[in-house]
Every structure is written in structure tokens, then in C-alpha cells.
Symmetry: C2
Subunit: 140 residues, 2 copies
DNA sequence: CTAGGTGCAAATGGTTTGCTCGAGG
DNA sequence: CCTCGAGCAAACCATTTGCACCTAG
């Protein structure tokens, strides 16, 4: 039921992008590949750091930026002000954030995607991107 | 055609909230009332500063936060990382951002609002808030 | 070998805060 | 008056950068 890995993993795409694959970059790519939640950069750093205590947070920031610019991962910024990244090759989705516990639920809704394009068109615009986050609390 | 000011202005609501109305707060409220665009805090500061060169940016930050916590204005954070505020009493709307020139267009769409509630409900959530921004470029 | 990456610490930029003085009610 | 706000500068926090050293190819 989980189709997350029918696509090439991040590590592989990094290699194909022709990056010099240092130990640090390999490690960061591997950790990102294992990620199923939405850690912010500090949290990603601490996961990576637990496997390589020498790695610096500057390297993590530099590396995610590099991967992002290559279109391998995608930047997310929710209201907590912390940056998160997720695999860019995954099916497009938006996020529903649980305001009680911070949990992030991904969802896909074709109707809402279409509606957004229609709204942009209504104002004479071509939609290049969007950001949709729902903030809610569990019923009951 | 412009119904922006059929509601009480920000200054009035500040007074009714029982704030101690200092010169600085009055000035900030007044400038906010005159605002028709979406200046970020630094820009708001420079507008305010041009009327009172003594005012400090710390006061602007403290004041907008105060007004926000009282529900008088609403915080916006777009992808440029800068905070903007707008009158909270205005009709709810979302934003379409012109990626070529940074211009911000406001729009209202009932369908998209309803759809968002439906999506939240689908996951067992009550929608408390949302953030929807469309980024686009002008056609032709 | 050597271009380019890393670690470290210092710089940055937006925002917040501690402190002391000043002004609103 | 006396409490609360303002101005100032220093602190903060996430992120970026300069530099000397190191490593992948």
C-alpha cells in the first residue's frame, strides 16, 4: 500500500545529478530516504549527527539547499518558522497540521488543485506554485 | 465599490480594547488604517518613522504583536520570510502573489473554503485555520 | 594533485527582550 | 503619582558565510 519507494531514492538521484558524493552527503541523503515524517533542519541534523558525530549543522544546511536547488527535495515552511524538506519526486500533496500535537498529515485533493488554477486564471494568472496548509484539531 | 471602510477602523478598535493609547500606538494604528497594500514590518516601520522619526522598530514589533493578540490585525507570512499584518475585521480572503513583481492580489472563493473544511473533516479534524497562497505569473 | 566540500566560528537578518527613563490616565 | 510603555542596545534563533584544512575523483 505504500508506494513511496516505487521511485528512485534521493541518494540515487544525487549520484545521477553528478554531485561529488562525500560521506556527509551520502549520509544526509540516506537519512532523508528513511524519513517518513517531516523533521525540520535541526531535527534532521540530530538524526544525521547520531550516525556521524563529526558532521556540522552548516553542512546539513548547505546540503539540503544543494539538493533543493537540484530539484531533488522540496522546501516546506509552516507557521512554526522552521524549514522542513521532503522528497520532491513524491506525488504532489498538501498538509494538514494538528494544532494540538504538531503532527502533519498529507493529503491530495484534485478538486482543490483544479480550483486553484481556475482562481489564478480568473485574475489572468498562470499558477506556478501554491502553498496550502490546513490547521485543525481532532474532533472528539 | 470599495467596502473596506464600512467597518470600524483599527484605531477605534484599539481604543475599545482598552489599550493605553500612546502617541506611538495611535500613529501605528492610523498608518495601518491607511494601508491598502501589504507592507512587511520594516516597511510599516519606515512609514511610521517618516511621521515620527523618534519611534523605534522595537515599538512597531511590540505594537503589531499586541494588536494581533487582541485580534485586531492578522499576521501573514509569505515565502519571502517577512511578516506582514492586515486588518483582521476585513472579509476573509486569500492571496495570489505575482512572482514577477511581488504584487499581492486578494481573492475570496467560497468553494475553496468549503472544500478545505470537507478535507479536514475527511481526516477527522475541525478546521481552525488555513493558509492558502497562490504564486503565479501574469498571462501575456 | 586540486577543485570543491567540510568544520568551525563568526556574521547575518528578522525579531525579541532587559533595562532605565518617560508619559498616560 | 505610579504603572506601563518607549527607546536603546544587546540577545536571540534560524540560517549563511569566510577561511583554513581536508578529501573525492
Amino acid at each position: 500500500m505504500n508506494e513511496k519507494h516505487t521511485i528512485k531514492n534521493i541518494l540515487k538521484r544525487c549520484i545521477e545529478s553528478g554531485f561529488r558524493m562525500t560521506e556527509q552527503r551520502k549520509l544526509i541523503a540516506t537519512v532523508l530516504d528513511k524519513t517518513i515524517d517531516h523533521p525540520h533542519v535541526e531535527e534532521l541534523f540530530s538524526r544525521v549527527n547520531s550516525e556521524d558525530p563529526k558532521i556540522s549543522i552548516a553542512t546539513v544546511y548547505r546540503t539540503v539547499k544543494l539538493f533543493e536547488e537540484a530539484g531533488i527535495i522540496e522546501k516546506l515552511e509552516f507557521i512554526d518558522g522552521k524549514t522542513r524538506y521532503e522528497d520532491a519526486e513524491r506525488e504532489h500533496h498538501d498538509h494538514l497540521i494538528d494544532m494540538q500535537n504538531g503532527k502533519i498529515i498529507e493529503f491530495v485533493d484534485k478538486d482543490i488543485e483544479l480550483l486553484q488554477e481556475k482562481i489564478a486564471a480568473r485574475y489572468g494568472y498562470k499558477l506556478l506554485g501554491h502553498r496550502l496548509e490546513l490547521y485543525g484539531k481532532k474532533i472528539k
